[in-house]
Amino acid sequence: MNAQRLLYRDTISKSIVWLLAVPALLIPAIVLCYIFWQAAPVLDWGFIVGTADGAGFGITDGIFAQLLGSLLLAVMACVIAAPFALGTALFYRTYASPRQQRLLTAMFNMLQGIPPIVFGLCGLVVLVNLFAWGISLISGAVVLALVVLPLLVLNTLATLERIPLDYTEAGMALGLGSGTIIWRLWLPRSWLNLLTGLLLAMARALSETAPIMFTATVFSGVVWPDSLFSPVTTLQTHIFYLAQEGNDPQVISIAWGSAAVLVLLVASLGLLARLLHKLGEH
């Protein structure tokens, strides 16, 4: 009798846990299916490669310009942020006093807590207007670099923390200075993991819309930016602008197509990062 009751209870609690977990399992799957179902009518090679003359506002001429702009911004943001992230993490591990370490940790936690739209606003005031860089690739890349910086620093720190103390001490026992230890021991050992972090940061930069909306992008008319100081178009903002148009089903399915491409891009970066991470473990 008692055993029967226990069995019931067990079954009930198991079912409740299962039921609660179902949304987490199903919703992403449903969303993904829905995106690709909606995108299917427009999704073909021509849509991605486009005619690339920027004349069709990204509606009749494919989304090549938008894809290019997104990638350019994400890559540039990471290229700008990576040296600073590496420098900060190395400073933290080698020269920083405990007080400086606490200060840095607090700073980066705070930086991570700032909503991206605030970065966008600051970028607009400082870079676009004060520095007179205008709405441009470089303004957007710098703002995005700030957004991904904490992520990169934390990842680099985690990577450096995984280097065993023995390994560092073996180098110190040979009289190697901290510079030599960094260049010849730490970086060769952990560059794959650092690269993983860079890819994840790139995926993050690709998913951000708010920071670039006022600082880097225009609706259409640009394919290859002429210089660092020209604006670009991106997939993220393209979806945003098209969705605002609202009524024309043709336009909406272009928005779904752009969304599908963006999701694929971010997912493949994540996949590549996992792959590199696995490689780095060995």
Binding site: P164, A170, G171, A173, L174, G175, L176, R184
Partner: protein, 272 residues
């Protein structure tokens, strides 16, 4: 196997480092006076004093937790928060010319667990070598160092293989070669043969005896028979203090202090 190339040839070939003071009196290679160490508020070493002769092996024995490893880490400057004085060849290590990094080049340390770098065997041996003059004769140096560490015959055909492919015993000898390649004035070894196969153990002891002809060696060991085999003198440490120091033969057969007698008695029991 290492007889044709002794430590003597090897050290002769090296230039004297500028930081070595040339005193005409026969200074001890290493002089430690009332060395104290506290870590996290815990006293690890209580006023340790001893000195090392300019050549030969000095073994350090004692129960685990006695502070033997910590002592070695103070001597080569991996730990720097100690009190007292440590002089190497007459110069205080705190005021060492070039700072702690240069001191560590002069006072080599072999850890208990071998740590090889992610690189080839050759690159591992060359890791600590500075300067183009040394690099140009790197091949020669690699061969000499590996021979001194009794590893040359086993690896001479695969110098470019990754060092991690070696067995643990071989890795430990590679660590010795790597330390010897920068021509230290003193070599500290922390239980270098703990948990190694008998063959590697024997080779390492052989290599230590060769090295000791020119370089003073301070070797921590838990293996009392090894301490006896290595001859030279022995230091017995317990609870962060040097209890007794003397010729190994003397110390093992007629220990003066009661603690030493107790330790030796119990250790012999452990072995059986």
């Amino acid at each position: 196997m290492v007889a044709d190339l002794t430590a003597a040839d090897f050290l002769q070939a090296s230039q004297q480092s500028p930081e070595k003071p040339s005193s005409n009196i026969e200074a001890a290679a290493l002089q430690v006076e009332s060395l104290g160490l506290q870590l996290d508020g815990k006293v690890i070493l209580h006023g340790v004093s001893f000195s090392l002769p300019t050549s030969g092996v000095t073994s350090v024995i004692g129960p685990s937790g006695a502070g033997k490893s910590s002592l070695l880490r103070c001597l080569n400057g991996l730990l720097t928060q100690w009190s007292g004085t440590i002089s190497v060849a007459g110069a205080s290590t705190r005021q060492w010319h070039g700072g702690w990094d240069q001191l560590r080049r002069h006072v080599g340390l072999i850890a208990q667990k071998p740590v090889v770098f992610n690189a080839s065997i050759r690159a591992n041996v060359c890791f600590g070598i500075h300067g183009w003059r040394q690099r140009r004769r790197a091949d020669e140096l690699v061969e000499k160092s590996l021979q001194q560490a009794a590893l040359w015959d086993e690896v001479k055909d695969r110098l470019d293989a990754p060092a991690v492919t070696l067995s643990v015993g071989q890795q430990q000898r590679l660590c010795i070669a790597r330390a010897v390649a920068i021509k230290p004035g003193i070599l500290l070894l922390d239980e270098p043969t703990a948990s190694l196969d008998p063959r590697s153990k024997q080779l390492i002891e052989q290599s230590m005896q060769q090295l000791a002809k020119e370089t003073p060696l301070l070797c921590v060991t838990h293996d009392l028979e090894q301490a006896q085999r290595l001859e030279g003198s022995t230091i017995f440490m317990c609870d962060g203090r040097v209890i007794e120091q003397g010729e190994s033969k003397q110390l093992f057969t007629q220990p003066q202090c009661i603690e030493t007698r107790e330790f030796l008695r119990w250790s012999v029991c452990d072995c059986n």
